[in-house]
């Protein structure tokens, strides 16, 4: 598990630079234009230092308040958290750069966008580092409220109804999760994930707690039957918020499910794993078909999120085979690739929407020339969503196919490959608009080069990081007990 | 059974009787204004008696003082509440009950 070097300060700076930034931008809104780049740089810098420390020295931890595990709260940064922090930092920095431009004219909303977004960034970093299940509940609530407030920032009727539906789902998920925390604490007398991992044994109470927690987390990750709230909320939100929601916020609850599945839940039953895999496969098919049916661009991209989330859940049944490590690494790679590609797609779609004034796919053909770079970004991001080499998406799908075949569960290859084909269908449905020559250029010129280059940069990153796959794999395995969870070996 | 405990029991029982009267009044009386009487007067006297009964058992003078303060605050709150509700009801045209 790597050396446990105590009390790295970087874990603190990663959480408290965005939080301090949020308080600052709320107190002095007019000086936000200067403060936000500084805060973003500070956060990305501390994330980089922390990731470097985890890669070199192994797991980093920080006993908050100086109290040891059962009484106090620990922060714990291992390979998995480092990967998630890295993804959040990359997408977060890009979206911050984009948002400074996007909100240039709408100063009223910008005044409240910055504190809310920096609070959301804090909640994400706190969630990825916390090692205490009740602390995760509070970070979860902070994350949910910040995301909902950002969706409601758009102010339109369907943004507000989408935000309200998202709030009801988020509160229900958090309360169910809290009930699971209550049961685990009452059974084992501790809230620390590490200690719980050693103590949990299959019993009525721990099964009920597992069920409650899984149900709460599935609701917030919008897995197939419970995905109804995601498309309206993600599509109606302002563009940078849609990118943040689809790329990062939905992944946070999946990360929590993965962390608890690896560390805390008593011997994971094959049945539950296969159920999650089945729901994941259904999500891929249903999400892609719905995406094909959509008439509006942002809704199509939102349904594509529902589909791509299905891939993450395929890892649960695949991990019940001797090649568990490959399956888990595949889903973490998926998180990275989908985060980068989906953020690029939403930013590109936002540019097109702002330029053409509407996002009805049928009439998009007339406005390809004004925002050609955004169309290119959409296409390149599509490559990563479909999973063509050399993108990270391809690396993830390759690992998943490898895990499926090596683990003897060949049937899981069907949704993987099928999903890729369906993704090709709905990506080309959009790209085809560019080649239909029935258009004269129309639309305002509200697009600055910054907004277009951010989208294009992110899509290139989704493509380019595929080359860094081995280093990322090494980072992921430093300290994360991925390999430990073969079938039958007690955690 | 010490004398003080006897007094406490008597006071508490009297307090309970007033609370009972208050609740009966609240259920039986015909309109808002009469129920206000029952509620505000009976319950506050009931609370006063209960507080007095418990004050005898209180270990320090400070505890006694605190109970008296609590009783005064409740008096203040329910008197204001009663006035506001009555005035509001009158202004909203709820007719006071008159024996036919």
């Amino acid at each position: 598990m790597g050396t446990l070097s105590p009390d790295s300060p970087w874990t603190i700076w990663v959480i408290f630079s965005p939080l301090a930034g949020a308080v600052f931008t709320f107190l002095w809104p007019r000086r936000a234009r200067l403060a936000v780049p500084l805060v973003a740089l500070g956060t990305v810098g501390s994330v980089a230092c922390l990731v470097w420390q985890v890669a070199e020295l192994g797991v980093q931890s920080h006993a908050l308040g100086g109290w040891a595990a059962p009484l106090g709260i620990n922060l714990y940064a291992d390979g998995l958290s480092a990967m998630m922090l890295l993804t959040t930092a990359l997408v977060g920095a890009a979206v911050t750069f984009y948002a400074t431009e996007y909100f240039r004219r709408a100063s009223e909303t910008a005044r409240y966008f910055w504190p809310l977004w920096l609070c959301l960034w804090t909640a994400l970093n706190a969630l990825f580092l916390s090692w205490d299940i009740f602390n995760l509940y509070v970070a979860f609530e902070l994350l949910g409220l910040a995301a909902i407030a950002l969706v409601a920032l758009a102010g339109s009727a369907d943004a507000l109804t989408g935000a309200m539906r998202y709030l009801l789902v988020s509160l229900l998920g958090s309360l169910t999760y809290l009930l699971g925390v209550a049961l685990f604490y009452s059974t084992y007398g501790t809230l620390d994930i590490g200690l719980l991992g050693d103590l949990t044994a299959p019993s009525a109470a721990s099964w009920a707690a597992t069920g409650l927690m899984v149900a709460g987390l599935l609701l917030k990750t919008a897995l197939f039957p419970l995905h109804f709230w995601l498309p309206p909320a993600h599509a109606a939100a302002p563009t940078p918020v849609s990118a943040i929601l689809s790329a990062l916020v939905v992944k946070a609850s999946f990360y929590l499910l993965l962390r608890l599945w690896l560390e805390v839940f008593p011997v994971t039953a094959a049945g539950l794993g296969h159920l999650l895999g089945l729901l994941g496969a259904l999500a891929i098919v249903w999400g892609s078909l719905q995406a094909l049916r959509q008439t509006r661009l942002k809704l199509l991209v939102a349904y594509s999120t529902v589909a791509q989330l299905g891939y993450l859940f395929l890892a649960f049944p695949l991990a019940l085979s001797p090649v568990a490590a490959t399956a888990w690494s595949a889903s973490v790679f998926f998180i990275l690739s989908h985060a980068l590609a989906k953020a690029a797609m939403f930013l590109a779609a936002g540019n097109i929407l702002r330029f053409a004034g509407h996002d009805r796919i049928a009439e998009l053909g007339r406005a390809p020339y004004g925002v050609s770079l955004s169309w290119a970004a959409f296409g390149v991001a599509g490559i990563s969503i479909i999973g063509l080499p050399p993108s990270v998406g391809f690396a993830a799908k390759w690992l998943q196919l490898e895990a499926a075949l090596a683990g003897g569960q060949w049937w899981w290859t069907l949704p993987i490959v099928g999903g890729g084909l369906l993704a090709t269908a709905y990506v080309f449905k959009i790209i085809s608009c560019v080649f239909s020559q029935n258009g004269r250029t129309s639309g305002t010129n509200g697009i600055s080069w910054r907004m277009e280059w951010t989208a294009f940069g992110l899509s290139l990153a989704a493509l380019g990081i595929g080359f860094a796959a081995p280093q990322l794999l090494a980072l992921l395995n430093s300290g994360t007990p991925l390999a430990l969870h073969e079938v039958g070996s007690a955690p | 059974m010490m004398l003080s405990q006897m007094i406490t029991i008597v006071l508490l029982l009297a307090g309970a009787a007033f609370f009972l009267a208050g609740t009966l009044g609240l259920l039986r009386f015909p309109d808002v204004y009469t129920r206000l009487h029952a509620l505000t007067k009976a319950d506050n006297v009931g609370l006063g008696l209960v507080a007095a009964g418990l004050a005898i058992q209180a270990e320090t003078w400070a505890a006694m003082g605190k109970m008296a303060l609590i009783w005064l605050l409740v008096l203040l709150a329910s008197a204001t509440g009663a006035h506001l509700v009555a005035r509001g009801a009158l202004r909203r045209g709820i007719p006071p009950w008159t024996a036919r």
């Binding site: 009390d7 308040g65 059962p70 106090g72 602390n135 509070v138 970070a139 501790t190 109470a205 009920a208 | -």
Partner: protein, 326 residues
């Protein structure tokens, strides 16, 4: 004599539980919305009694101040703004009759399914709860051992502000976020300003200082007896709510920038103290032994002010008007 005490205790608990469940049923299923809210206020009161029976005076204080007092006032204010909104909506399209919160229920079959599902949920949860051992120490021993070095003698305050101080910091973040979110959504709705009348005005003038005194007392008592920042903050908020309700225009005589500073104060002081601890070589939020009590008190004072103003701003329901002109 012991048997009688147990019997009386059991009778009181059983009665309290029945009242609680019956109140919850009336709150959730009652046809009229106003009746539900009044039942909800009663539900909060009985819930505080339940916390008292569970030997949790701190939680009873929080439930009494926040659950019964503030949440009830929030719902009543929301109901009046809802009715006002409905009148505007009706004016625009006086077509179908506006329901005043009549609970529109899906038809019978769907309700049966939901009843079965929640009954199943309750059954599973009850089975899990009953399987738990009757006696479980939890973390009582660890807290008792370390209480002496925590700087306060009330175990709950020690856990809240020292052992699990990071939880409380994130929770202050949630409160701060709620205000920022509420301000980002809408300007404060204009309330029908009517003169409070002599009785209410004098009542508020007499009660407000007492509320402030009580908040200070709860804050100070928090170190050695039930009380603390949250309970004191909510009593402070009750004072502010009373002032708002009695027609005092808080917004006018309260300049906008200091209001923002006080809103961010609790969180800012907490983070600052945590980081200062790191600068002097300790871990984050690790108070030096002999200053622990004073630092906790400093955090609690800032937190009380911040929570009081935050809950009052949330009762206001939006960003203050003066904020508009910026």
């Amino acid at each position: 004599m012991d048997g009688a005490v147990n019997a009386a205790a059991w009778a009181f608990d059983a009665l309290l539980v029945l009242t609680l469940l019956w109140l919850a049923w009336r709150v959730l299923m009652g046809p009229d919305l106003f009746k539900s809210i009044v039942f909800f206020i009663a539900f909060g009161l009985v819930m505080a009694l339940a916390w008292v029976r569970l030997r949790a005076p701190d939680v009873a204080l929080a439930e009494a101040a926040i659950g019964a007092g503030l949440t009830g006032a929030l719902f009543l204010a929301a109901l009046s703004r809802l009715a006002a909104g409905e009148r505007i909506a009706n004016a625009k399209r006086p077509v179908e009759n506006s329901d005043t919160g009549k609970s529109t229920r899906p038809h019978r079959g769907v309700r049966m399914v939901f009843i079965a599902m929640s009954a199943l949920f309750f059954g599973g949860l009850a089975a899990a709860l009953l399987s738990l051992p009757a006696e479980a120490p939890g973390l009582t021993i660890q807290v008792a051992e370390n209480l002496s070095t925590s700087g306060v003698s009330n175990p709950v305050t020690a856990v809240l502000l020292n052992f699990r101080g990071y939880d409380t910091l994130l929770e202050m973040g949630v409160l701060f976020l709620a205000v920022v979110a509420a301000w980002s959504l809408t300007p404060a709705p204009k309330e029908p300003v009517s003169p409070p009348g002599i009785v209410l005005a004098s009542f508020v003038r007499v009660l407000s200082p007492m509320l402030l005194l009580a908040a200070g007392y709860l804050l100070w008592a928090g170190t050695h007896a039930p009380g603390g920042a949250f309970q004191a903050g909510s009593v402070l908020a009750a004072a502010a709510v009373l002032l708002l309700l009695s027609g005092k225009d808080m917004k006018a005589n309260w300049p906008e920038w200091p209001l923002r500073v006080v809103l961010g104060l609790g969180l800012g002081v907490f983070i600052a103290i945590g980081l200062v601890m790191m600068l002097i070589g300790h871990r984050f939020l690790e108070y030096p032994l002999d200053y622990a009590g004073d630092l906790i008190l400093l955090i609690e004072v800032a937190a009380t002010l911040s929570i009081g103003v935050t809950l009052a701003a949330l009762f206001l329901g939006g960003r203050p008007q003066r904020d508009e002109r910026k």
